[in-house]
């Protein structure tokens, strides 16, 4: 079943022709503290559909600010952010919420699951603010849980799941609505190294299946294993490497 036909008829027929999912154009973010902090300094970056990109940097490098701006949770001080051609600066707070509900999927370091409801409900919450019926939400949530390999944990409460399983639930929630872009903020930050490898493998598989994924991390090793690495330091992009064979090598 094509998810796109159910919830977002425009996914495949992306207008404006370009396959640029995300464009940052001279984006800056200043915090008016004393002394003023320049978190991002004229960052320009383009991510096309189907990419798997690592944004890597030490803490305080500005990568969290970048994530918030790309995820439309925060607005830049200067510059433009285009998500599938839509300038976020033109949108109201409500418009940004609409963009997030339809086009952006989030994966957080702390999972951010609702503890009172089972895995399937957590995943279904990913479609809650799209006006999709409860029945359809649960059906798609079940499919997403199967995709992340949790078909045996569908009705478990988060407290009954391991850390890796919790992050899989969070990933299922991020992809359930087939967003244009999945933003994963330190997705392995709270996991041991073996579980981290599983999660990275899952992200790679989802990427092969067509998802556009941006992983924000301070973990160089993790970043090395992804096909594209954008390195950020002191609010500037200092490196952008593509390893065209990385995906093939890893698999």
């Amino acid at each position: 079943m094509s998810l796109a036909t159910v919830i977002d008829p425009s996914t495949e027929a992306s207008p404006s022709g370009g396959d640029e999912v995300l464009v940052l154009d001279e984006v800056s973010k200043h915090y008016p503290t004393t002394p003023p902090v320049v978190a991002l300094d004229s960052v320009s970056l383009t991510i096309t559909r189907g990419e798997l990109v690592a944004i890597v940097g030490a803490s305080g490098s500005g990568k969290s600010t970048l994530l918030n701006i790309v995820g439309t949770l925060d607005r830049p001080t200067a510059g433009r952010v285009l998500i599938e051609g839509t300038a976020t600066t033109d949108l109201s707070d409500t418009g940004l919420a609409g963009l997030r509900s339809n086009r952006i999927g989030f994966v957080f370091q702390q999972f951010h699951l609702l503890e009172q409801v089972p895995a399937i409900e957590n995943v279904a919450t990913g479609l809650l603010y799209r006006g999709v019926s409860g029945r359809t939400r649960r059906r798609l949530a079940r499919e997403a849980l199967v995709r992340v390999g949790l078909e045996h944990r569908i009705n478990h409460l988060p407290s009954k799941l391991s850390g890796g399983e919790r992050q899989r639930v969070a990933i299922a929630r991020a992809i359930v609505g087939e967003p244009a872009i999945v933003l994963a903020d330190e997705p392995t930050g709270n996991l041991d190294s073996r579980t981290s490898e599983d999660i990275v493998a899952l992200l790679r598989r989802l990427h092969r299946e067509g998802s556009t994924i941006v992983v924000i991390t301070h973990d160089r090793e993790l970043a090395e294993s992804l096909p594209r690495r954008v390195t950020i330091r002191d609010g500037r992009i200092v490196g952008d490497e593509r390893v065209t064979t990385a995906g093939a090598a890893a698999s």
Binding site: M1, S2, L3, A4, T5, V6, I7, D8, P9, S10, E12, A13, P15, S16, G17, S64, N68, G71, L73, D74, G85, T86, D93, T94, G95, A97, G98, L99, R100, S101, N102, R103, I104, F106, F108, Q109, Q110, H112, L114, E115, Q116, V117, T125, G126, L128, Y129, R130, G131, V132, S133, G134, T136, E143, R173, E209, G210
Partner: protein, 421 residues
């Protein structure tokens, strides 16, 4: 995606914007949408897994609503009982007495007054009583003052007053001429006569009278409960009393009560109508119902204060909930919830807490009312408007209490809220 089969899907919730294939360049607008049922579900989400807190928070409202329901229920039941009693004994009983003369004594009524009263059209029934200036004792050896009246009357009196006998019978045409008495309920108690076993007698002016009946308390004429009744003939012939009517009791057709009341004084005493006092004994009961109303208002006010305190309690707990649930709020914002969706969630949560309290309060209030009314032997009357009003008041109060916490939740910076710590 390999699962992209040709399954026809025509989900009605498909897109809100343009369908695929619309004019290039015309970008579909992405909107956040939250179904009404889902909004309600989010309002209940915060109460899951926090049941004891929800219960305690709702308790304040529950107490307020319970006390208000109990107060209105109990006073309505009490009133219903009183009104039923008034209804049973009727509001068409009037009482005529000699008012105070210029010398301060109770003025007697003219001898022909009873006949005059009976001649008024709407009067259905009338009975006169004559208070005798004598005393009654259990026997000649025990002549202590007991405050009892000896009253001469006619057999019709019991009927006019709609009284009833507890034991024996009332005076009739025959016993009215004999040395027999009937005791009012208080008189019987004071004379120490509980029943008619052993043919009790009483002593009036040195003569022995046989007790042939004991009355129940009169609902409207408690003064008569202190009386000992003898027949008019017996009073004249045995005690040698000169009968002057001191009071007349009469029943009118229910529609004409006021009209009769107007003409009564002039009819009874055409020469000195202002020395006649006319009263309606049921007025006293209605006044009692009115007194209850004042007490009810006071108690309602107290219930209202309890409700208000409950509302403040909810607002308090909701503010704490917003602080505790920053990350949930951040998550929902990241998932596409608008500020309005977040505010709605917390207002609904607050309102459902209060509604829960309201329903609990109504249940408790109803049980208390039924229990109390049963104990008192009253009719049970729980005003439905009070119940509906209770729920509506709780809902409104809850929504109001949630306004400020909800606006704080909605104003949270989503980037801040998803951040750990």
């Amino acid at each position: 995606m390999t699962t992209t089969a040709s399954t026809p899907v025509a989900a009605p919730e498909a897109g809100t914007g343009a369908a695929p294939g619309t004019r290039p360049g015309l970008r579909r607008r992405h909107r956040s949408r939250l179904r009404t049922t889902d909004a309600l579900a989010t309002g209940l989400h915060g109460l899951r897994g926090r049941k004891s807190r929800a219960l305690l928070t709702a308790l304040g409202i529950a107490l307020g609503i319970a006390s208000m329901v109990a107060v209105t229920g109990i006073s309505a039941s009490s009133k219903a009982d009183l009104l039923a009693e008034i209804d049973r004994i009727g509001t068409n009983l009037l009482q005529v007495q000699g008012g105070n003369s210029v010398f301060g004594d109770a003025a007697p009524l003219p001898v022909e007054a009873p006949a005059m009263v009976r001649r008024i059209g709407p009067v259905q029934d009338a009975s006169a009583v004559s208070s005798l200036k004598t005393e009654v004792f259990r026997n000649t050896f025990d002549e202590k003052a007991n405050g009892l009246d000896v009253i001469a009357t006619e057999p019709q009196l019991l009927n006019t007053l709609e009284g009833s006998v507890a034991a024996g019978r009332f005076l009739d045409a025959e016993t009215s001429t004999l040395p027999t008495v009937v005791l009012g309920s208080v008189a019987a108690e004071r004379l120490g006569i509980d029943d008619l076993d052993g043919a009790p007698t009483v002593d009036i002016a040195g003569r022995r009278f046989a007790v042939i009946g004991i009355l129940d308390a009169f609902p409207l004429n408690p003064d008569l409960d202190r009386s000992v009744f003898i027949g008019n003939d017996a009073a004249e012939n045995i005690l040698g009393a000169e009968l002057v009517p001191t009071a007349i009791y009469l029943r009118t057709t229910p529609e004409q009560v006021e009209a009769v009341r107007e003409v009564l004084a002039a009819t009874v005493s055409p020469t000195a109508p202002n020395e006649v006092s006319v009263s309606r004994p049921s007025d006293a009961l209605e006044a009692r119902a009115q007194v209850d109303q004042n007490l009810q208002n006071l108690l309602l006010g107290l219930g209202g204060i309890a409700l208000l305190v409950g509302g403040v309690g909810i607002a308090n707990v909701m503010i704490i909930a917003v602080l505790e649930r920053r990350s949930e709020i951040g998550l929902r914002r990241a998932l596409g919830a608008t500020r309005r969706h977040i505010a709605t969630q917390f207002i609904l949560e607050s309102a459902s807490l209060a509604a829960f309290g309201g329903v609990l309060g109504i249940a408790v209030g109803t049980v208390v009312t039924i229990g109390y009314a049963r104990r008192q032997g009253w009719l049970i009357d729980i005003p439905v408007t009070a119940l509906a009003g209770g729920v509506v008041a709780a809902l409104l109060l809850g929504a109001l209490a949630g306004l400020y916490p909800a606006s704080r939740a909605a104003r949270l910076d989503p980037a801040d809220a998803v951040r750990p710590g």
